[in-house]
């Protein structure tokens, strides 16, 4: 095999070169709907410095260089196997690859795309016509609304279908270069999220009973990542008290177009109440009117505006010594019709951390949970320090289990033993 490869390599290279030269004029087509695959020009200039001095993230294969790149803050692109394969490839764009079958298949896909684009145009016109109709003409406001929504859904679906078979789109998405303002990349990202990360999240919030304890129901539709400093926290992970003294950063990835205004709340349902022998709720953070969209995903809870967004600023979570672990659940709640809430009225009403219940907020302001996250805290070496910092009342008190008095010994059915 190796011999045959070696033998055919010059031939192939020669073929490739002629092919690219021959087709170079043809392959620059204009794309009406969106520009996805930009033809990569083969870099002509030779690198002035050796590879190990300035490693290319798309070609690096040695673990040492990869690590160096990671330390510098750039992630190597794709898998190591792919990067190794790219090192001695011509790095030709898909249009110029010398595989006949591949090119024939591409032609079919391109024809399909053209068809889809036409369908999109037709659908857009129909939608515009439908929207221009009055209620009477289309048979009632309800019927019109349902028809328009169905058409919009179909249009979104067509937009995805137009690009889903494009190898360049797939490649771009896999390289994390996808543009989230385009429906196809949002669709792919959503699918990827639902395959694994969402399942884990749903499992954590249901197994740890966050969902019936804090909110009656939650169907996450946005991907939420939580960072304390630079460290990402997985759902349900234990976080040191010292680390969580400052407010976390969020990465809220929406998979729908448009912008939404959300309310963000961090609630601890495990505050021990010794007098009543049960647990209380405590709101560690509450902010309203936070805008999120598919392209602007970063939300720093410490950077939100004091005068128009933050209702209750971040309170570092601490767990008393001996108390069961605290679940700190973060919920992202969509405000109704993405309308801003009246901040002053909200702040005047919901200013008590201990009495604010997320359930009642949800029903009072018509919020809908679209995202969730969770981390836990327990007593650790740094807790006492944090407690003193925030002025925690019972810093020098620990909780001990109460003794369970055994039932009095009672002889069951004594007459039969005699």
């Amino acid at each position: 095999m190796a011999h045959c490869e070696r033998a055919s390599k010059p031939l192939l290279q020669c073929l490739r070169n002629t092919y690219s030269r021959g087709v170079a004029g043809v392959q620059l087509q204009t794309r009406a709907f969106q520009s996805t695959a930009s033809v990569r020009e083969p870099e002509a200039e030779t690198p002035s410095q050796p590879f190990h001095k300035a490693p290319d993230p798309s070609l690096v294969t040695s673990p040492r260089l990869e690590r160096r790149l990671l330390r510098q803050g750039t992630t190597p692109i794709g898998s190591r196997r792919r990067r190794a394969a790219l090192q001695d490839s011509e790095n030709l764009p898909f249009e110029q690859l010398p595989y006949q079958c591949f090119q024939e298949a591409r032609k079919i896909l391109l024809a399909d795309r053209e068809e889809k684009l036409k369908e999109i145009e037709v659908m857009r016109q129909r939608l515009a016509r439908q929207e221009a109709l009055t209620d009477q003409e289309s048979g009632g406001a309800k019927a019109k609304k349902s028809r328009v929504t169905a058409m919009q859904l179909h249009l979104e679906r067509l937009k995805v279908l137009a690009d889903i078979n494009d190898p360049a789109v797939k490649r771009k998405f896999e390289d994390n270069e996808g543009d989230m303002s385009k429906p196809i990349y949002r669709f792919l990202a959503d699918r990827k999220w639902r395959e694994y990360r969402r399942k884990i999240l749903v499992q954590r919030i249901t197994q740890m009973n966050v969902v019936p304890d804090v909110l009656p129901h939650c169907d996450p539709v946005v991907d939420t990542k939580l960072y304390f400093g630079k460290r990402q926290v997985q759902a349900g992970e234990f976080v040191d008290a010292k680390l969580s003294t400052s407010a976390p950063k969020l990465d809220v990835q929406m998979f729908e177009g448009g912008e939404k205004l959300v309310t963000i709340a961090v609630v601890d349902p495990d505050v021990p109440n010794v007098e009543n022998n049960n647990f209380d709720y405590k709101t560690h953070f509450l902010a309203v009117n936070v805008p999120i969209s598919a392209t602007s995903t970063k939300v720093d809870l410490a950077q939100l505006l004091e005068d128009s967004q933050v209702v209750l600023p971040w309170l570092p979570p601490v767990a008393q010594k001996g108390s069961p672990y605290h679940r700190l659940s973060l919920f992202i709640m969509e405000q109704k019709d993405s309308q801003p809430l009246d901040f002053a009225a909200f702040k005047a009403k919901e200013n008590n951390r201990d009495t604010t219940l997320l359930r009642s907020l949800q029903s009072r302001y018509h919020l809908k949970a679209i995202g969730a996250h969770l981390f836990r805290t327990q007593w650790d070496d740094t807790t006492l320090e944090v407690m003193k910092e925030i002025g925690f009342d019972n810093a020098n008190v620990e909780l001990r289990r109460k003794r369970v008095e055994p039932l009095p010994y009672k002889r069951r059915n004594p007459s039969s033993f005699r």
Partner: protein, 269 residues
């Protein structure tokens, strides 16, 4: 060999029946003699014709009956294992109280209950026992739960927050003791007494310790290297040179031991 053995029971039979046969005048002759006379077989083998005549008296055991004796059947029956409900529905239980003993999971642990390694259901909270079904959780399983109020019902609605109890009391936090105490022994007329040395005196020098020894405390011996200022080189995963040297040394040592082993064997021979 075979014939006399077969004939003996027949002779016995004849002896038993002769009085009855004699009484009937039609059969005045001996049964054996008549039968042997009618048979075509020689006198020495009268068995087949005999069996035909004595059909109502022979015992036939067919395969449909048990072939082995059933004499000790009842002694093989094991003792009862006292399984079943130990606490009925509505009864008050405390934490750890066993509610149901079973083989396999006939019942599953529901709210505030746990399952032991032999599938025993026990309470994890004090309260009142409930036996219930929870079709939303599992369509076929039967659950045993414990509720806090006497008239509370199970299962709870799916979206209701869970009802929990803290069962903890606040205690002032214990101060961490820095110095360690140690055991010492004292010998007097009452025998050997092992007592605790207060932490302050622990480092005062050699003391009489269990085993009639004046020596330092165990923990002091353990800290000897620390006192002497001997520090071990911290392990560095990346130091492959050191790792290689150690590996080489180990291999050398192993080779040496192996060679010694071989020499001994040859010496024996």
């Amino acid at each position: 060999m075979f014939k006399p053995r077969v004939l003996t029971p027949l002779r016995a039979l004849e002896r038993a029946f002769t009085p009855a046969i004699r009484s009937t005048p039609t059969q005045s002759q001996s049964l054996l003699r008549t039968l042997s006379a009618t048979s075509t077989f020689p006198k020495t083998t009268p068995t087949p014709s005999l069996s035909r005549a004595l059909l109502p008296f022979t015992q036939v055991r067919h395969a449909s009956h048990a072939s082995q004796g059933t004499a000790n059947q009842h002694s093989r029956d094991p003792a009862g294992k006292r399984l079943g409900a130990k606490r009925s529905g509505g009864e008050y239980v405390v934490t750890g109280c066993i509610i149901f003993r079973q083989r396999g999971s006939l019942w599953f642990p529901g709210e505030n209950c746990g399952m032991g390694r032999d599938h025993t259901i026990y309470a994890t909270q004090s309260g009142y026992v409930r036996y219930y079904l929870d079709p939303l959780k599992h369509p076929k399983r039967r659950y045993i739960g414990v509720v806090f109020d006497k008239d509370e019902k199970l299962p709870h609605p799916r979206n209701a927050p869970s009802r929990r109890k803290l069962n903890m009391a606040p205690v002032p936090m214990a101060e961490r003791v820095e110095a360690q105490s140690d055991l010492v022994a004292s010998v007097d007329e009452n025998g050997v007494r092992v007592t605790d040395v207060p932490a302050v005196e622990a480092e005062s020098g050699l003391q009489m310790r269990p085993g009639y020894m004046y020596r330092e405390a165990n923990w002091e011996i353990g800290r000897a290297a620390e006192k002497a200022g001997i520090t071990a080189m911290p392990h560095d995963r990346g130091n492959r040179w050191l790792a290689w040297r150690k590996r080489q040394q180990r291999a050398e040592r192993a080779a040496q031991l192996k060679s010694l082993k071989g020499k001994k064997k040859t010496a024996k021979k």
